[in-house]
């Protein structure tokens, strides 16, 4: 049997790193439908899984892929799919089912230029709101945004951990710029990895209620075939998992599903800061755009401008409180994202009345550092 | 061994009438009763004609007919 964790340092692309991240995290099932710029993840998985005993299947479409991923998750496997915007758009109904039935799974979106077919081979950050609001009904999701090949690996592992911990689908929001970028990747030794597995029932089958949660709000999860004989449905359901259309059950269920994420916002949130301690201009960015922002902030400091960078590593749940605090002493906040105005709305909501300046960017490339520097300079002037 | 007999679980019956229509031995008849759910269940009029063939238990869409130990003789 081949090595599962390919410890060592290599020069690879982001999609490759993502696939290896999934394998390191213990992913046992991967289903997808080819789509640029995510296909290379499937190609790597297809190469590796048969040797490791993981189940890879290429589906007839993205709807089938995500549905089968949820089926595999209920069968006890860690499961993942990867796609880009058009594929996510098709998956949303069933991602909603994963939220409702609390099926841990990872959805990788290697974003490309939209709307619609748009710019299939080119990067963008236009699907950031979609993964939070694309499903009908009230949901909360978790989304992570890598900025490098190394993070494609690291955050894929983390995405699995969060999905298992909270029994919820987790998005990895990458983009073509990172998915197709070649950089150095270091895979740790297997024993250095921290892996999380879903909480299993401790009660005997006769007493197990598949949707009863303790104060963590996350119910323990049995797998099909384990002898618990439970029923799961996308209908509003009680703790037994049975359909129940009462107002009370709906209220309790939806609140729990959302609150299990909302209440843990602080725990889930990951950010990185650069010279924010005394900054007058706070730049907020994520993913590939954050790399431009980092250069811009360093250049600003070289020019004596007090800029700082808050890089959001997790995008959802949105860390309102943290933003508010970070912006407290700044004169203004700059948001740079590769779209025409998405996460900036969340930032505005969090930091207002602090002025927020938005730097949109459309078409393949992230902002140049110069563009962001110029914005910093204007505020400082 | 105890004798068996056909038995109606009235709470489950929805009054479709299949048992009345399809029992080969004409064991059931329509009753006058209306249950709380607004349903008219069958009445077992000829229990002795029942051959315990099991057709009605299988054709009943509501699991309302079962063959059980006849407790009276049990």
């Amino acid at each position: 049997m081949a090595n599962r964790v390919l410890t060592g340092t290599r020069f690879v692309h982001g999609d490759w790193a993502c696939a290896e991240g999934a394998i390191s995290a213990g992913c046992g099932y991967y289903a997808a439908y080819p789509i640029t710029p995510a296909t290379e993840i499937a190609e790597r998985i297809a190469q590796r899984f048969p040797v490791l005993g993981g189940k890879f299947i290429q589906f007839e479409d993205e709807i089938g892929a995500i549905a089968s991923v949820i089926g595999a998750s209920f069968s006890g496997l860690k499961a993942m799919t990867a796609t880009s915007g058009p594929g996510v758009s098709l998956m949303l109904e069933n991602i909603g089912l994963a939220v409702m039935t609390e099926a841990p799974c990872v959805i990788v979106n290697v974003m490309r230029g939209g709307p619609s077919t748009g710019q299939p081979t080119m990067g963008a950050q236009g699907d950031v709101m979609q993964c939070r609001w694309g499903m009908h009904g009230d949901v909360e999701t978790i989304a992570l945004a890598p900025q490098s090949v190394q993070e494609m690996y690291d955050l894929t592992v983390e995405a699995f951990n969060l999905s298992e911990a909270y029994r919820t689908p987790v998005f990895l929001l990458s983009d073509a710029n990172i998915g197709h970028l070649y950089e150095r990747l270091t895979i740790p030794r297997e024993e250095e990895l921290t892996l999380v597995d879903r909480k299993r029932p401790t009660l005997p089958p006769s007493e197990y209620l598949p949707y009863r949660a303790d104060e963590s709000l996350v119910p323990p999860m049995a797998s099909f075939g384990d002898g618990y004989r439970f029923y799961s449905t996308g209908l509003t359901h009680d703790e037994k998992g049975y359909p129940d259309m009462s107002v009370e059950t709906q209220d309790k269920l939806v609140r729990r599903l959302c609150d299990k994420i909302r209440r843990n916002t602080d725990k889930i949130t990951m950010v990185e800061t650069l010279m924010t301690d005394d900054c007058e201009v706070l730049v907020v960015a994520y993913g590939i755009a954050a790399r431009s922002a980092a250069t811009a902030v360093k250049q600003a400091r070289e020019r004596g401008l007090k800029a700082g960078l808050l890089r959001l590593v997790s995008l959802w749940p949105f860390p309102d409180k943290l933003l508010e605090k970070m912006a407290e002493d700044a004169k203004a906040v700059i948001v740079a994202e590769m779209n025409y105005g998405q996460l900036v709305r969340e930032v505005e909501r969090a930091v207002k009345p602090k002025p927020v300046r938005f730097l949109p960017k459309l078409g393949e490339n992230p902002h140049t550092p110069g563009e962001i520097l110029e914005a910093i300079r204007r505020i400082d002037a | 061994m105890a004798k068996q007999r056909i038995k109606l679980i009235k709470q489950l019956c929805k009054g479709c009438g299949y048992c009345i229509e399809f029992c080969p031995n004409n064991v059931f008849e329509k009753s006058e009763e209306i249950t709380e759910r607004g349903v008219t269940p069958p009445r077992i009029k000829n229990p002795d004609k029942c051959t315990l063939c099991g057709l009605c238990t299988r054709l009943c869409p509501d699991f309302a007919l079962i063959i059980e130990e006849d407790e009276g003789d049990g």
Partner: protein
């Protein structure tokens, strides 16, 4: 030596992307540098134009895109026409002798031009597919962006089976480059 930006451009089938990979991998894995590589294609399904951008640095690389390369390797007239003007002042343009036919008039006095007969050399070596490695040799000799040993090691990574031939092409390219330096 901080950030260096190298662009290699040509058309599909010339091994442009492979050259980029070998160069960046050499820097990142065998030369103690930071390095990254990106690639892009023309509108064609396959074939058609393509290019790869390599950035190396002794510090972590934030911004991953190239606007004005320090060095352009042009493997087609199209690549030369599109990108030569983007090369920064005092930068160098290396072009394939048989595929890029330019007159002195096309040359910008602020840049250095080097003609390398990569295809011919590769043909001499018996495999036209090694022209890309000849070019890489020239790049090494003319820019020093990575150490020669690092490039050689990278070639072993990339061509475990056809290592010798490609190493030979690399060395020939270095010689050709040195002649021009």
């Amino acid at each position: 030596m901080t950030r260096r930006e190298i662009r290699i451009a040509g058309f599909g089938g010339q091994g442009v992307i492979t050259a980029g990979y070998v160069l960046a991998n050499a820097a990142a894995i065998h030369d103690g540098q930071y390095a990254l590589m990106t690639q892009s294609y023309g509108p064609e399904a396959r074939g058609g134009s393509c290019k790869t951008d390599v950035i190396t640095s002794d510090k972590p690389i934030d911004y991953p895109k190239i606007s004005s390369p320090d060095c352009l390797v042009a493997m087609s007239i199209d690549a030369f026409a599109t990108f030569a003007s983007t090369v920064m002042d005092r930068g160098i343009v290396i072009y394939e002798a048989s595929l890029v036919d330019i007159s002195k008039n096309d040359m910008d006095p602020n840049k250095n031009y080097h003609e390398i007969p990569a295809v011919a050399t590769a043909n001499e070596l018996g495999n036209p597919l090694t022209a890309n490695m000849v070019m890489l040799g020239a790049v090494q000799a003319l820019t020093g962006v990575v150490k020669a040993e690092a490039l050689a090691a990278s070639i072993s990574d990339r061509f475990p089976k056809r290592k010798e031939l490609n190493l030979k092409a690399l060395r020939r390219g270095m010689e050709l480059g040195r002649l021009q330096a």
